[in-house]
Amino acid sequence: MKPAPFEYFVPTSVEEAVELLARHGDDAKVLAGGQSLVPMMNFRLAQPAVLIDINRIVELGYIREGDSSIAIGAMTRQRVVETSPMVRDKCAILSEALANVGHQAIRNRGTMGGTLAHGDPAAEVATVLLTLGGSVTVAGPQGKRELSPEELLAGPYAAGISSDELIVEINFPILAANETHGFLEMSRRHGDFALAGVAAVLRMGEGNICERARVALCGVAPTPVRATEVENQLTGKRLDASTIQAAAELASRAVDCEDEYHASREYRTHLCQVYVRRTIQLALERWGNN
């Protein structure tokens, strides 16, 4: 299919882009990597009257290591982040999650800001952000503001951002020495949207006690969600097979989906529980190996 006609702008600065968004608002869509938007436009499912191509905004491509977090410019390609030795060293869960985003060819073009702005329910990057508790900086006509992951994910498809705002930076907290992590997802084929995915970061104490657990799920609700019942069940406990199993079962409380062609609601819920268990186990094994 061919897209419907659209007006096309190529700003070269954030200011210019924001000005265009303010002018066109609801009629405009931002083109970053295009890996989600362009297929939707070619299907004519999305028919923005205006396309604002931000690929020439060079200032938005960077990865900066800070004291407690990594700042990534919105236009940084996913593949660049995935292969960054610094990210692998300081925030390995992000590198691992990125390996599950589509295929390498898609990650060559897809951007860190783009996936968050698109807001797919099964998006891995948003799920990791939610788990780590990072933040997103957006620029709008009123200036810049920071959003927590929860604010960003107020509703499906990045409802937390308004149509005249542009994501400019994402902040991922660096994992501490006493934090372990895991990321696993189940999909029909390599690179497909997750039927269920789990990101977990556990702060561990002596004797395998979990001091703090943050567990987020993707693909099982309208947005990535925190599995708070699971987290509460793990916190303060010694992690072993039975505590993990008991906690994993509570993952069903966070599931909010319908029967679909590829997976029934029941199957997805069960998958979620299995994958929460496996991801926590993976994190625990990783902790044991260190």
């Binding site: 061919k2 897209p3 419907a4 029909r188 084929r189 390599h190 949207f193 062609y261 590829h262 199957y267």
Partner: protein, 815 residues
């Protein structure tokens, strides 16, 4: 009637059997291939198709005025205009529903064409589609096979009550005695899903109507059979010589799916005529997934009458195929084309069959790779395992007990199939040995004791190739057939010519879609003439105005490697005979005393009496009166070959539905993760016997592709609809074609029992594991889930499905 020439002995088997690299690859890999979308014409315009969003709806007024006003739009063709400009397509059932190239008063599946817009480019054409207003009045839809035949089902066509397009019963052998002799009856009910082969290149048509000559020129990546040409000419109401079809050399895959192209050819021909411009239509992927062609979905109920030692005495089955909103040729082939090999590799002499072909509000069908052999073998091979389980006999053993024996070939099946050659037990034993079957069974026992769900699956099938179009006659009873002209055949035409300097050029129209025909042709000709394949040039374009073709021309049912190559041998031999006659004339020697090498012809016993081939060729071209008196001018050979085993059906409804028959044995092992229902391949041995292997490299490619398609059908692919006939799998997000990551390493082993019917002893190999893998994988999963008492009778085997089976089995009390 042509006799089969003996394989050349003089030049030696130098090139056939070698993995000669493909000459097609360089141009394909460097972007120099010429596919349908690469062709341009002056003033060419572009078409987009407005398609029904409803599965079943009456079509009222179509308001095109806004579309016509859009700048760049050349014209719009609506369904009612199509009905005025054409006749319904002929089809082999009676009474036949009316099937036009577009929906007329009613749409009967989502995606059915309703109108065509022709514009300066595809973008504008699609903009114009959105401006067309159609008054649809939705009707209730039906998608389920049994529901479609029920009394209260929505009726798709007034001509076909209960939505039944075709229905026949057949009896072969002595069912009564067999039933009496049987110790047991084993029953099964199987559901085979609807899916296709998704060639990487979609449909494409360029149509140009010449109003002065009242002639159409069509370019299209159609794959035959050329029956389609006759059908379109008939539908358009024109003589066949006014419909020129050109099929480019480069096509990105066919797999039977591009057989369903011809209605679109008719549609675009009419669009061109209507709008007064040449029109190009390149199907996009979404169109392909919803409205090109897939295989049928089929419901089978089968009964096997068996003795306690595992001998299958008789089969009784009822198979219902669903061809969708209409039935179009070559259907109802789905029900009849595999009749010759219906009993597979086994000595089953008694068969009772009821076949039905029905319609529902789904898209239409075509001979998807395997053309319902995958449906047949899914049922038959699952039944073999079920029989084995009920009689407590090993499933490998039960097959060995029922195989046709090596000394029984050529073997006539109960249904009229003539299996040319084979040694099934030997090939199967090779596979079992390679798989280390006994030890694997032992290992499986141990793994099971640990609670692992491990399964071993077998499938042993006969791979038919070179369709004999006579099978279509089975849709009618013998008495009805007698009133018509008989139909039979499988012809292919090749010309090999030699130029004045002695170089060889082959003119072919074998309609390749990526199989590497030109490479193979060069190997075969090289062997026949004692020259190098690189010395042979090939032009392979099917053009009804510039090539000799038969009604069966095209590349489907793996015709080329048997019928095609035999025609190449014939043509080359005839050229060679002529060369030798001229040489004999010039050397004053008897033809029988002559021999050749790559550049000269000489007297065998007196090699100094020789003449260079290029001088022989030179004589034929430059000194035509120097030729023998009774010889025609011109230096070429034509082979137009029809396999002699392609005869019409008998009065007992027996027909040799194919011509050459290969054999495949799959032995594989899977593990199911009980927590997720996910399936993993642990080991897979695949044995193939396709007679003489002409080019092992190409052969291996076919086999690997067959495995991928087989896995697709078994686990991933389905053209799925909801209960309202809305298609759910309209993109590759949801129609799951396996990627390379999902395909395991398969250990391929070969056996060659040459065919006595073809010049090289080769058989077809194009369907390969596409027809056997679904059965083998289903058997493996059934074996893995047997401890839970789970039956596996449907596909695809998605994790969701498997997990639900496991959950239901665990929650219900065991029997």
């Amino acid at each position: 009637m042509t006799t089969m020439p003996p394989a050349s002995k003089q030049a030696g088997e130098k090139w056939v059997g070698r993995s000669v690299p493909r000459r097609e690859d360089l141009r394909l890999l460097t972007g120099r291939g010429r596919f349908i979308d690469d062709f341009e014409l002056p003033q060419l315009k572009h078409a987009a198709i407005l398609r029904s969003p409803y599965a079943h709806a009456e079509i009222g007024e179509i308001d095109v005025h806004a579309a016509l006003e859009l700048p760049g739009v050349r014209g719009v063709l609506t369904g009612r205009e199509v009905a005025a400009m054409s006749r319904p397509f002929a089809v082999g059932v009676s009474p036949a529903p009316k099937y036009y190239a577009s929906a007329v008063e009613r749409a009967r599946f989502v995606g059915e064409p309703v109108a065509v817009v022709v514009a300066d480019d595809r973008y504008i054409a699609e903009d114009a589609l959105e401006l067309i207003e159609v008054d649809y009045r939705p009707l209730p839809a039906v998608v389920d096979i049994e529901a479609a035949m029920a009394a209260d089902a929505p009726q798709l066509h007034e001509e076909c009550p209960n939505n039944i397009y075709s229905q026949r019963e057949f009896v072969y052998g002595d069912m009564e005695s067999a039933k009496k002799e049987a110790d047991r009856v084993v029953t099964g009910r199987f559901l085979f899903p609807k899916y296709g082969s998704t060639p990487i290149e979609t449909y494409g048509v360029i149509a140009s109507y010449d109003p002065f000559a009242d002639q159409y020129e069509i370019w299209s990546n159609y794959q035959g059979p050329m029956v389609g040409h006759a059908l379109v000419a008939q539908a358009l109401g024109i003589a066949e010589n006014r419909l020129r079809w050109i099929i480019p050399t480069d096509i990105g895959g066919g797999f039977g799916i591009k057989t369903g192209l011809y209605p679109y050819i008719a549609l675009m021909a009419m669009a061109s005529k209507r709008c007064g411009v040449p029109v190009k239509w390149i199907e996009d992927r979404q169109e392909h997934l919803i409205a090109s062609a897939t295989g049928t979905d089929r419901l089978t109920e089968m009964e096997a009458y068996v003795k306690s030692d595992g001998t299958i005495l008789a089969l009784k089955d009822r198979a219902i195929d669903n061809t969708g909103g209409y039935i179009r040729a070559p259907e109802p082939g789905c029900a009849y084309r595999s009749i010759g090999n219906h009993t597979g590799a086994y000595q089953i002499r008694n068969l009772e069959r009821e076949v039905l072909v029905v319609g529902t509000n789904k898209c239409l069908t075509a001979p998807n790779r395997g053309y319902t052999c995958q449906h047949l073998y899914f049922s038959l091979e699952r039944m073999m395992d079920k029989v084995a389980a009920e009689l407590d006999i090993d499933p490998a053993e039960i097959r060995l007990r029922n195989f046709i024996a090596a000394d029984q070939f050529p073997y006539k099946t109960a249904t009229g199939g003539l299996y040319d050659s084979g040694d099934y037990a030997a090939a199967f034993r090779l596979a079992l040995q390679r798989f280390d079957y006994d030890n694997m069974r032992q290992w499986q026992k141990e793994a099971r004791a640990e609670g692992r769900l491990i399964g071993i699956g077998l499938a042993t099938v006969v791979e038919p190739s070179v369709t004999n179009i006579a099978y279509v006659g089975l849709a009618k009873s013998y008495l009805e057939r007698r009133k018509e002209h008989p139909k039979s055949g499988s012809g292919e035409a090749i010309m090999v010519k030699m130029d004045p300097l002695g170089k060889v050029h082959v003119i072919a129209a074998t309609n390749p879609q990526g199989q590497g025909h030109d490479t193979v042709i060069s190997q075969v000709v090289a062997d026949q003439l004692g020259i190098l394949p690189d010395d042979v040039t090939v032009s392979n374009v099917l053009d009804t105005h510039q090539r000799l073709t038969s009604i069966t021309s095209g590349s489907y049912s793996s015709r080329f490697s048997s019928a095609g190559t035999t025609a190449v041998v014939l043509a080359t031999q005839r050229l060679k005979e002529k060369l030798f006659r001229i040489a004999g004339h010039l050397l004053d020697a008897h033809v029988e005393s002559l021999q050749n090498d790559s550049h000269k012809i000489f007297v065998r016993e007196q090699p100094q009496r020789s003449i260079e081939i290029r001088h022989v060729a030179g004589t034929a071209h430059w000194n035509q009166s120097g030729l023998p008196e009774d010889m025609d001018v011109g230096l070429y050979g034509v082979g137009f070959y029809n396999m002699p085993t392609s005869e019409p059906p008998t009065e007992f409804d027996q027909v040799n539905s194919s011509n050459t028959y290969g054999f495949i044995a799959e032995v594989l092992m899977v593990e199911i993760d009980p927590e997720t229902g996910a399936l993993q391949f642990l080991k897979w041995v695949s044995a193939h016997d396709a007679g003489t292997v002409i080019n092992p490299l190409l052969f291996e490619g076919q086999l690997q592709g067959g495995v991928a398609h087989g896995i697709g059908g078994a686990i991933f692919e389905e053209t799925a609809y909801d209960e309202n006939g809305q298609i759910l799998t309209g993109s590759f997000m949801d129609y799951l074609v396996p990627t390379s990551m999902e395909i395991p390493e398969v250990d391929m082993i070969h056996q060659e029992t040459p065919s006595p019917l073809t010049a090289l002893g080769s058989k077809g190999t194009g369907e390969a594991s596409a027809m056997s893998a679904p059965a083998a994988i289903a058997n493996a999963v059934a074996d893995a889930l047997r401890p839970l008492g789970i039956e596996v009778n449907e596909l695809p085997l998605s994790p969701n499905r498997i997990w639900h089976w496991i959950k239901d089995a665990q929650s219900s009390p065991s029997q």
